[in-house]
């Protein structure tokens, strides 16, 4: 393959060398990008995620264009039938209405905001805490490591949904409570991964070299260890976002997440679970599809990124 890592001579023009079929130098980022570009599934997933993000950001604009609002009830015939049953997809409500005659499409659009906000913010907080604790535990080892690792074990001993239930019982449900609860249970996984990676890197030559040059602990962690963690962390966060989106939807589904009338995919499905799935297929199908397609897209992208960012992955693609 032409991707073998042999540096090109500085005086050789790279483009000319490529034309002659000679070896071209490429950075790991370029290699990863080339692999991702060849991976159609990951690209499609990335495009879908971008679409969801844009819809979420421009939710008011999109809803203005389709002429619907997520909270107003259609009191006419298009909202609810005379028996009070939701009306299916029509040219007035493209994806039908819910139990009180609100537009399902508009609620889906606004629901994407909650899913993404919680999914991304919780992941970001988990990353920060996990990196700090993992770096400290892995780098200092010894007593610090024992203490922090045991602490992570304790956190993992809390049953997620039940503890979330009890925290919500005390504080009452809200967006921030959801984010905090999810973060609290998620960071220790990242902490463990970072710790493991740092433990194996700590004794390597480049760290030793930095130390012998007089670099302090903080500098080594920031400049030598952290950059080496970027790859696995990108992959892991991409895979963590869908987990957090599902956690948020689960809390909302149980009535412990963001409070109605704010639309979330989870509380829409809860409305459907309340018996409406029997009469209003659209109220079950569309929120479920939104949720599953989004989480699937993140998982597919994460899988693709893992292959692309892993130097050994090239062999896998090459044998195809």
């Amino acid at each position: 393959m032409s991707e073998t890592l042999v540096p090109a001579q500085p005086d050789t023009p790279v483009t000319a060398a490529a034309k002659e079929g000679a070896v071209v130098a490429r950075t790991p980022t370029q290699l990863a990008w080339r692999r991702i570009k060849r991976d159609k599934v990951s690209l499609a997933a990335a495009v879908f995620i971008l679409f969801v993000i844009l819809v979420a950001i421009f939710a008011p604009v999109v809803c203005h264009i389709i002429g619907q609002s997520p909270t107003s009830q259609d009191r006419g015939d298009h909202g609810l039938t005379l028996d009070g049953v939701p009306v299916g997809p029509s040219r007035y409500h493209w994806l039908g209405t819910d139990e009180v005659g609100r537009d399902v499409l508009a609620r889906l659009i606004y629901g994407s905001r909650i899913s993404l906000i919680v999914g991304v913010l919780a992941t970001a907080f988990e990353l920060v805490i996990g990196i700090v604790v993992g770096l400290l535990a892995g780098y200092y080892s010894g007593k610090t490591d024992t203490l922090l690792s045991r602490f992570m074990d304790v956190v993992l001993s809390f049953p997620f949904i039940l503890t979330a239930l009890s925290i919500v019982a005390v504080t009452g449900p809200s967006l921030w409570v959801s984010i905090v609860v999810i973060t609290f249970f998620g960071w220790s996984n990242i902490g463990r991964i970072v710790r493991g990676q740092v433990l194996s890197m700590r004794e390597r030559e480049f760290v030793e070299a930095a130390r012998s040059l007089g670099a302090g602990d903080l500098r080594i962690m920031r400049k030598d260890l952290l950059p080496n963690l970027v790859g696995p962390l990108i992959v892991y966060s991409t895979l963590l976002i869908p987990v957090n989106i599902v956690s948020e939807a689960t809390l909302s589904f149980l009535g412990l997440g963001v409070v109605p009338p704010t639309a979330t995919w989870g509380n829409m499905l809860a409305g459907s679970a309340d018996g409406l799935y029997r009469v209003a297929w659209w109220y079950l199908t569309f929120p479920a599809m939104a949720l599953v397609l989004t989480t699937l897209a993140f998982n597919l992208l994460g899988d693709g990124l893992r292959d692309a960012l892993d130097p050994r992955a090239d062999r896998v693609l090459a044998t195809k």
Partner: protein
Amino acid sequence: MLRFLVRRVAFGALVMLIVSLVVFILFYVASDPASSFCGRTCTPERKTQIKIVLGLNRSYPRQYLSFLNHLLHGDLGTSFVNRISVNSVIKSGLPATASLALGAAVLWLLMGIPIGITAATKPRSVRDRLATLFALVGVSLPSFVVGLMLLNLLFFQLTTHGHPWFPPSGYVGITDNPLQWARHLLLPWFTLAFITAAAYARLTRGSMLEVLGEDYIRTARAKGLRERTVIYKHGLRSALTPVITLLGIDIGTLLGGTVVTEQLFGLQGIGQSALNAVHNNDLPVVLGTVLVAAFFIVLANIVVDLLYAVLDARVRLS
């Protein structure tokens, strides 16, 4: 071995102590149990009276010690709402939760392990790709979406078309009627098993691939053993070690309450009691279920570690 056991149990006890302290702070310090006991129509006099009766007028450390004392005697307290002991709430919920968790575990092992093995024995083949897709879809599906789909298709559609095979909700004790027990649990089992099987397929595939690259597998093949013997007798045994670990922890977690599935299918298990308790602001029941669930997780971790030590001498000696 004994030292290992003692150390593990001691750490487990410490974890339980920390969990109990955290829930104590959450329920007795950060919130106001007297108010939730008192209910909506509460007078200050009545609240003071309640504080005295429940011992809430004592200092926090003394309250915690008495709370711990009750716990050590196996007493989880009394429900604020219907004055039933929390122990009996959990005891009545355990059969449904355990039936759900254990039955689902059998199902997801039967689904996940064979899929993982077929995928691993022919990496990058069509069936490996299908297995990977199954794992990805399973990981992406929230349990309540699977449950709702099953309810719609297998309960509602079948019933409206004259085949009432699956009931939508309820739990029948296994001793009352084993057949009805299974019939009522089939949909919940599949709901739980489907999403979990994906993780097991992934794990089995990964660990099987690793094991099949080992020297002793090459030796077994070089001896001229049949491929099937190599995979199932030599490979599978060590490939299943991480699967057993995960299984132990998953069952431990689920025994503490399968909130979503129980809620969806109206099974009166531990998770359902906890959820109802949250909505009724019944703090002792919530607290009791959290403690029991944490206990199952800690216990499962100890069992798994011991199993590991038995299976793998390197752990025992370290």
